[in-house]
């Protein structure tokens, strides 16, 4: 079984949010996704990466590690990791509308990721960082017809 993967390491500047999502989307095109699947992938990556720049590294620029891998059966695995502040209560953080981000954040990032990906898992340690792992099976366009 051939596998394909890449790793990306970027500073948590907000201008890199679009670079990250476009890069993952470009990698995913190898799986022949539909436009909707591409959009779901872009949105989910944007959520995870934005959380790193907004929450993990609130007052500084840290490093965001993004790695992608194609698993068997056309499953795309995306991992977004930071070495930031960590999440105290993951269950609470994943609740829709929960936010520590103030007025302009909706608290729906995790809810969006969960609705668009097949699975979302979160591992975190206070003061050490957070890893969000998402998986999505891509239904080849050609097979659908």
């Amino acid at each position: 079984m051939e596998t394909n993967k890449f790793t990306l390491k970027i500073p948590s500047r907000s201008c890199n949010e679009s670079f990250a999502r476009v890069t993952v989307a470009a990698f995913a095109t190898g799986l022949d996704p539909t436009l909707e699947e591409i959009s779901d992938i872009k949105t989910s990556v944007s959520e995870a990466v934005t959380n790193c720049s907004v929450h993990a590294y609130p007052n500084s620029i840290g490093v965001i590690y993004i790695s992608c891998e194609i698993l068997k059966d056309n499953v795309l695995k995306i991992k977004v990791r930071d070495k930031g502040c960590g999440i105290a209560d993951i269950e609470q953080a994943r609740q829709p509308l929960f936010t520590t981000g103030g007025e302009e954040r909706a608290g729906l990032g995790f809810a969006v990721m969960e609705s668009m990906m097949d699975s979302v898992s979160v591992r975190s340690k206070m003061g050490k960082g957070t890893t969000v792992t998402m998986k999505k099976k891509i239904n080849r366009k050609d097979d659908a017809r």
């Binding site: 907000s14 201008c15 949010e17 679009s18 872009k42 302009e104 954040r105 909706a106």
Partner: protein, 102 residues
């Protein structure tokens, strides 16, 4: 971003992508227009928006709260499928009238 005001109605034509990086500038411009024109209805036109994540929900919710202070209403128009999906997930239809694009 283009802004059009006809008396009571303020229409803002959003352009480009709405993420955390770009939402701030949009927010400031929209709020400036709301303060200036004091509309009773704000229409946000998403026709030229190619990408949106939950920062767009925050943008809409924030403007809703801002408008509510003056009893003004909010309407979202020309949403593509992906944007509509995110707005529905957030339950925005309880705050604003939503009209999908053609």
């Amino acid at each position: 971003m283009q802004i059009n005001s006809t008396g009571e109605v303020l229409t803002v034509y959003l352009k480009g992508e709405i993420d955390h990086h770009l939402a701030r500038g949009m927010r400031e411009e929209i709020d400036k227009a709301i303060d200036y024109y004091m509309p009773s209805l704000l229409i946000l036109d998403f026709g030229e928006i190619s990408f949106m994540d939950s920062s767009g929900i925050g943008l809409v919710m924030g403007r809703y709260k801002n408008l509510k202070k003056n009893g003004a209403k909010l309407s979202l128009v020309n949403l593509n499928e992906n944007i509509y999906k995110i707005m529905k997930l957030a339950g925005i239809e309880r705050l604003a009238e939503i009209e999908k694009g053609a």
